[in-house]
């Protein structure tokens, strides 16, 4: 179990009001969360040099992730000025591009 505190991003969380018998000033809702990205730690503090390798491994994107991010960036580069592109039948917009750039930056591959 992990407790998150994040923006209620309405593009990723559908908030559907539930009808109630009274007490309508404060809404009650059903929430449908679809692939909500929550930024996490970018690293952590080590107390012994032996830990550095494991930490770097955990926080560095894998080669598959870097390759996927490269393809996203390349798709946008191929259509300058486009806000939305398609890759493998998937619709990608600017947040996808930003995330891919971030992945490359983390992987030292930008």
């Amino acid at each position: 179990m992990t407790l998150f505190y994040t923006d209620l991003d309405r593009r990723k969380i559908e908030v559907r009001r539930i009808d109630k018998m009274g007490r309508n000033a404060v809404d009650s809702n059903a929430l449908f969360i679809d692939d909500l990205f929550v930024p996490g730690f970018a690293g952590r503090i080590a107390i012994h040099p032996d830990q550095v390798g494991t930490i770097n491994e955990a926080f560095t994107p894998s080669s598959a992730e870097i390759e996927a991010a490269r393809r996203v960036v390349a798709s946008f580069a191929a259509e300058p000025g486009a806000g939305v592109v398609q890759l493998d039948g998937r619709m990608l917009d600017i947040p996808h591009l930003r995330q891919a750039e971030h992945t490359l930056e983390q992987g030292g591959a930008l």
Binding site: M1, T2, L3, Y5, D7, L8, V26, G40
Partner: protein
């Protein structure tokens, strides 16, 4: 054991009551009929400092405890808004408490201050359709992803979801039955 009300608690009761009396039956009837959140009441409680009653003093809160919060909520429910008025503000008393206790100084500054000032509202995403009080059986899942987590699932009976800027969201990071902690 002494159950007498302290002068501070008496003062809380009176001060909160004074604010609540500014919001009469007409105000609450309109919120009820139009299904609109009582933003003005929320703002009035924030500007008098009550939304930070359980939050640290160095962030603008009052650093008080559960008894004082209960006295405050009691005074709120005595007003025209009843439990609607309580529901409009009570997330602040307990929802972000994990941040109060475990948050880094930076997280407290960024996340608690706007809640105390009433600039942001948070909702509390714990309950699910198949897991009410049995919190350990929730299904919403957070998967590790580059730079963070990706969360998919659903929540039920989330109060103030229509007006909230932030969400305290509980999700599994291990499959049910496989958790070791």
């Amino acid at each position: 054991m002494d159950f007498a009300v302290t002068s501070l608690q008496q003062e809380i009761n009176e001060s909160v009551g004074k604010i609540c009396r500014q919001f009469g039956d007409d105000y609450w009837r309109r919120c009820e009929e139009e299904k609109t959140f009582p933003h003005e009441f929320h703002a009035a409680m924030a500007s008098a400092g009550w939304l930070g009653i359980t939050m640290p003093e160095d962030l603008g809160g009052a650093g008080l405890g559960v008894i004082e919060a209960a006295i405050m909520i009691h005074a709120v429910t005595l007003g025209g808004g009843g439990y609607s008025a309580a529901s409009a503000i009570n997330i602040n008393l307990f929802g972000p408490h994990a941040i109060v206790v475990h948050g880094s100084p930076d997280q407290k500054q960024r996340w608690l201050k706007p809640l105390i000032r009433g600039e942001q509202k948070a909702c509390f995403g714990f309950t699910e359709a198949d897991a009410g009080l049995d919190t350990s059986s929730i299904k919403t899942f957070a998967t590790r992803a580059p730079g963070g987590y990706r969360i998919t699932g659903s929540k039920m009976w989330t109060s103030t979801g229509q007006v909230a800027d932030k969400i305290v969201l509980l999700a599994r990071t291990t499959q049910a039955g496989r958790a070791t902690e």
